[in-house]
Amino acid sequence: MYDAIIVALCVFIGVAGHEMFGMAMLSRPIVVAPLAGLLLGDLQTGLQVGASLEAIFMGVVNVGVTPSAEPAIAAGLATVFTIQMDGKLGAIIPLVWPLAIIGLQIINMIFSFVCGPFASKFLNYAKNDDQKRFVHLHFGLWVLHYVLYALLPFFAVLLGSSVVKQAINAIPHVIMNGLTVAGNLMPAVGMAMLLQMLWRNDLAIWYFLGIVLMAYFKLPMIAIAVIGAIVAIAIAERDLQLKKVTNAGVAVATNQGEAGTSEDFEEEDFFK
């Protein structure tokens, strides 16, 4: 029981702290494993596990939804199992890895289906300038999100990893699959909200340029951003020139008095 609480606490401190302190990297194995080791009375094992797992996870960057393993859960579980079984890390990793992969799936589920529905609550509070509730929800979701997150390592240590694996496998595959599909589609709502802000019928073609550049040319984001900036600057330059011409036209018109008003009016209309 004590071990389970400690590991859950370390995972919570890691992942929740990482977000709270602005991408502070507290969730990395090199931090979580030594912390768990320290609290379980074996700092040296924690350090060794942390060093090995950090090297393994070095390449894994958690950006968006990726089908890899979850580093903090892997580090916490690997540390406690290595200490408990007095074993070699090499033998522990095959035991821990499936759980860390399931962990990432569960985290994506929490992200999509626990935190997702609250998005509209934020907007409602914003619409009413209810800042107090807004802030409470902001921090409340933090607690909810990461307490749920820490439950997996808690039960994994308490009941043993095989029991947890079986329990999760008992969830019907169709449901899990459907939820994953839904989670992958949800960002469409965020994109739609941005479109609502940016959409202008005369500019809509540029949205499709972004789609083609990503779907067919598979350019990195940064390349698309540079292309977008070039297009934007070119458009701005042309607009500035048009503005100058129009302003000059107006200036000439005012100098000439009433004479050329109707002609200039047409010209101005043309440039609009």
């Binding site: 977000e19 990297m25 507290l26 550049l213 990503m214 951003a225």
Partner: protein, 274 residues
């Protein structure tokens, strides 16, 4: 440091608030807004300072609660710019507010690209490399050194990013506004924003169908292939445009749409179509 030397005492205080509030941007992260709620949280002190009545504050808060996602140390830069634009909007009656989100959307993609590779790809690897060596020697300093090294740069970037964004914005946005060029800026920023949203629609919204017609052990129709031949990522783009139509026509709220997505996805999964 020259950056931010022209800010007055009140603004410096706001900058410190921005630093503390920009850190936890992702604590309420969700697939609809990503860090958008955190973005609005960080801008609250500015909104409360610039706008005196409740309606304006509510409008500003709603404007800032939009999809936003970028690497944290660079997020404060965008927040600083957005804050300076809110200030301009509060002072100038006919300011075009759509330029605020246009600029945010234009900036977040490229900054995320640079930030992720610099902080996750380079700096974290350097810090972790040193820490791993120390940990293997059994030194308890390993995790501490790792955290201090990484976060020193992380935090410096976040503080000065905010100050830089705010002072750049304050300097140029009002000049652009006074020269009557804000519509030019808004249009250019919207073009960049729309291109980025198009790219994000493809990279973030994912869908693959498994519908397969098999006859006599031979595959005669692979629907995903057919869809890809028509246009790649056709379904995600159509779903995004569909959500946009629903939201714009006020035919459905976000909750209804999210619920619909879940129900339809599970249904499709039961039918074995996805």
């Amino acid at each position: 440091m020259k950056i931010g030397s022209e800010l007055d005492k009140d603004e410096k205080k706001l900058m410190r608030k921005l630093f503390w509030r920009s850190g936890p941007m992702y604590i309420s992260v969700n697939p609809v807004l990503m860090g958008g709620s955190g973005f609005a949280y960080a801008l609250m002190p500015f909104i409360n300072k610039f706008y005196k009545n409740k309606e304006d504050r509510a409008a500003a808060l709603e404007r800032e609660t939009q999809y936003f996602s970028t690497t944290i140390p660079f997020a404060s830069f965008v927040m600083g710019i957005a804050a300076s634009m809110e200030k301009e909007n509060a002072q100038s009656p006919d300011f075009d507010v759509s330029s605020i989100n246009a600029i945010k959307t234009g900036l977040m993609g490229p900054l995320a690209g640079i930030g992720d590779s610099l902080f996750w790809g380079v700096w974290r690897v350097v810090c972790a490399g040193i820490a791993i060596t120390l940990a293997k020697q059994g030194s308890f300093l390993a995790p501490i050194l790792f955290l201090v090294m990484f976060n020193a740069i992380n935090y410096i970037c976040r503080y000065y990013g905010g100050v830089l964004g705010y002072s750049l914005g304050s300097k140029y946005i009002s000049r652009i506004y006074q020269n009557g060029l804000i519509e030019v800026l808004t249009k250019a920023a919207s073009v960049l924003g729309l291109i980025m949203v198009g790219a994000m629609t493809v990279s973030m919204v994912l869908f693959k169908t498994k519908i397969n017609l098999v006859m006599g052990g031979k595959e005669i129709l692979d629907l995903q292939n057919v869809l890809d031949t028509i246009f790649k990522n056709l379904v995600p783009v159509l779903i995004t445009l569909g959500c946009f139509k629903l939201l714009r026509g006020k035919k459905a709220g976000i909750i209804t749409i999210l619920f619909g997505i879940v129900v339809i996805s599970i249904l499709l999964s039961f039918l074995g179509w996805v």
